[in-house]
């Protein structure tokens, strides 16, 4: 088991956003989490990564057998949890390559491995660049500074390829992408998929799932997973719209 979320409840500024999430992710699986705006999808991603603005009020999250919620964000990353951000930040003056070398060596240190020197890192990076069709020029530019929306998202997937996480969480990585960029991003994820890792793909639209075929689809609404199924659920949702799910819930029980 890679990730096990049990009855997770989270609030921000006293307002409950997640109202009891249950989700189990095994190695080799791809899970899609879908839902309308405001359903709590991105909150889930942020809480998994350890963003401080949220208060966990109940439940538990186990990641590779460890209590994830007890770890600070950098430890979670070093343990192998990767979040592809919806809005990647810019860091002026720090090249993507330099940033990733620092990050990779932190993770290697955590795993008791020797740090890679500049030469070894470079050849390792080149390998990963091919995987996601990233331009050398992009890795030399300051991290995300002046990148187009598509470049930023590609850069997230590139970082994920390089850091080789056990669990990749993609937070609306498809939003704002044209179809070509979408293909590149999805293609990257497909190539990274192994029997030892897993992905949670958060998305608003079904179209990403034309390229990344999930093993499971979960529909989130109002802080809960209200329906789970296989990829057909996503197609049905696409056809009928979110109202199809939510109108049942709005009628009093």
């Amino acid at each position: 088991m890679i990730l096990e979320i049990k009855n997770l409840k989270v609030s921000i500024d006293g307002k409950e956003i997640l109202k009891g999430i249950n989700l189990s992710v095994n190695a080799g699986e791809v899970h899609a989490v879908m839902g309308p705006n405001g359903s709590g999808k991105s909150t889930l991603a942020s809480v998994l990564a350890g963003k401080e603005d949220y208060t966990v009020t109940g439940g538990s999250v186990e990641f590779l057998g460890k209590d994830l919620l007890a770890l600070p964000p950098e430890e979670r990353a070093r343990e192998g949890l990767f979040l592809a951000f919806q809005y990647p930040v810019e860091i002026p003056g720090v090249s993507t390559a330099n940033f990733l070398k620092t990050a990779l060596n932190e993770i290697r240190k955590h795993r008791g491995m020797e740090p890679l020197d500049a030469m070894d890192f470079l050849s390792f990076m080149k390998e990963k660049m091919k995987l996601v069709n990233i331009d050398t020029e992009l890795t030399k530019r300051p991290l995300n500074e002046g990148f187009s929306g598509g470049e930023k998202k590609k850069n997230e997937v590139f970082q994920m390829a390089l850091l080789e996480p056990r669990l990749g969480v993609l937070d609306e990585t498809d939003s704002g992408l044209d179809i070509d960029a979408l293909r590149v991003v999805a293609g990257g994820v497909n190539k990274l998929k192994t029997k030892d890792n897993a992905f949670v793909v958060i998305t608003h639209y079904q179209r990403l799932l034309d390229y990344i075929v999930p093993d499971y689809v979960h529909i989130m609404y109002d802080g809960r997973i209200i329906k789970s199924g296989n990829k057909d659920l996503a197609l049905e949702l696409e056809k009928k719209g979110y109202d199809w799910i939510t109108k049942d819930l709005k009628t009093p029980a």
Binding site: A49, E52, A77, P92, G93, A103, E106
Partner: protein, 482 residues
């Protein structure tokens, strides 16, 4: 406190690592300042009478001046009578070679990472080490002399190259220039002198390392660099001082003369004087006048400074661009933390045609510190098609510190182009979180972000110095980032 605040708190609580005091017996002038102090210093150094006269004129001029108060810093009045103006390590005997340098002295510099043993040095850096008032040792002299390069202490230059010193001393920074330049001219004790003859490209970095050791001593050194036609030199300067509760005054003067056509002087400073403790007790008052003049056509002077130390830093390394097509550059990183104050920047005076200047200033304020950029760009009437580009960025760490920008522009020629850009930014929680999500600790994240911010300036430093500057930056900001 938010996340960044906490990290900042951590990063800015680093200890000053150079605060030790060496047990070296010093010979000092009687405390206080009067004409007799000036004569005492001159006598100690066996100076020619012209120099004593020059000092006395400076001293008398200083008496007529008043301490300036326009800078954006505050400190109690300085009692100039309550300090020593000359302190020299007592020589056991006259030195004939480096091997005879007092072991304790040698150990002091070793501890600072400055090796005086030139044979053992692999890196090509010639060092002039100045402790309190006196130059201790200059390395690689004979090798440089083969190329006709003079690199020695100021005192030696006065004895061995009096004509050069007499001709250029005070030509770029006259003793009438300002209060501290006048004071320095009266009581300066030592410093470095460097002359690069025509057509010579100095093959190694020249470096002076300044160290204040004795208590209650002011350090007043003078540096004079002259580059002839087609000559090039890269010069580095580093400074540290012991931790003491009382403030100590450092009032140096640096004069650069890019004399001939195409002469190029690159002057880099990593200033790490003791900044005082967290509550602002003690620390060095760093009141320095640095200026260069580009006389030759297409000559160039570049100032690069990384200012991390001192309780108060007050300096404006400037360039007078007299020769046509000459170039002035100023790259600065000024970091203030705790109660430190800095009012620093540059002056670019365009006189010649097609003269160009670039100003890149990066201020970083943390803790309760105050950091001001103050810069003058002056285009005189004859400076046809002169160009200036200024970029002044401020980075705030935490919400208790201040950043200020005071640009002054005087343009008297219509064909000139002057550009000024300024930004103020903060390290955001989102940036820190992003880095953490990739496995970096909060502190490493902050260092990475700050170093990225300073990159344009660090790129100007010689490799070894750039590494040292990065380390210094993280030590200075230790305890202020997360």
């Amino acid at each position: 406190m938010d996340q960044t605040g906490r990290i900042l708190e951590n990063v800015t609580q680093g200890e000053y690592k150079y605060g030790f005091v060496s047990d070296i017996e010093a010979e000092t002038a009687p405390k206080g300042l009067n004409e007799e102090t000036v004569r005492f210093i001159s006598r100690k150094k066996n100076e020619p009478s012209w120099l004593l006269e020059w000092r006395l004129k400076a001293y008398r001029h200083w008496l007529t001046m008043e301490m300036p108060h326009w800078q954006n810093v505050s400190f109690p009045p300085i009692d100039y009578q309550d300090a020593f103006y000359y302190a020299a390590p007592k020589p056991k005997k006259k030195l004939n070679s480096m091997n005879e340098v007092d072991p304790e002295l040698r150990a002091t510099f070793e501890k600072l990472g400055i090796s005086l043993e030139e044979q053992k040095r692999l890196s090509g850096v010639a060092v002039d080490a100045v402790l309190d008032s006196v130059s201790i040792a200059t390395t690689f002299r004979s090798k440089l002399a083969e190329l006709g390069i003079i690199f020695c202490s100021f005192s030696e230059a006065v004895k061995e190259h009096p004509d050069l010193v007499k001709k250029y001393l005070g030509t770029v920074v006259p003793y009438t220039d300002n209060y501290f330049a006048a004071l320095n001219s009266a009581v300066f004790s030592d410093g470095s002198f460097c002359y690069i003859p025509k057509g010579v490209r100095c093959p190694m970095e020249l470096s002076t390392y300044f160290r204040i050791n004795t208590a209650n001593t002011g350090q007043f050194e003078r540096t004079l660099l002259i580059a002839e036609e087609d000559a090039y030199v890269s010069y580095l300067e580093g400074c540290t001082a012991p931790m003491r509760d009382e403030n100590q005054l450092h009032a140096a003067v640096v004069e650069l003369v890019a004399l001939g056509n195409n002469a190029h002087i690159k002057y880099s400073t990593v200033q790490n004087w003791y900044p005082g403790d967290r509550n602002g007790k003690g620390g060095i008052y760093n009141f320095v006048t640095k200026r260069g003049i580009c006389i030759g056509k297409r000559s160039k002077i570049s100032w690069t400074q990384v200012e991390t130390g001192s309780a108060i830093t007050w300096k404006y390394p400037g360039c007078i661009l007299k020769g046509d097509d000459s170039v002035g550059e100023f790259y600065s990183v000024a970091v203030t933390n705790n109660r430190q104050q800095a009012d620093t920047g540059t002056k670019m005076i365009h006189i010649g045609k097609n003269t160009r200047s670039t100003i890149i200033s990066k201020g970083i304020s943390a803790g309760h510190s105050n950091n001001s950029y103050r810069g003058l760009v002056k285009i005189s009437a004859k400076a046809e098609k002169a160009r200036n580009f200024s970029q002044c960025d401020s980075l705030l760490m935490g919400d208790q510190c201040g950043a200020h920008t005071f640009p002054y522009l005087e343009v008297k020629n219509k064909s000139a182009t002057v550009e000024h850009e300024a930004t103020t930014s903060k390290i955001s929680d989102d940036q820190i979180f992003y880095c953490k999500q990739r496995g970096l600790s909060g502190e490493d994240a902050a260092n990475l972000i700050v170093n990225g911010y300073c990159k344009e300036v660090f790129n100007q430093l010689p490799m070894e110095f750039a590494v040292e500057a990065q380390k210094l930056l993280s030590v200075t900001l230790e305890g202020s980032v997360g």
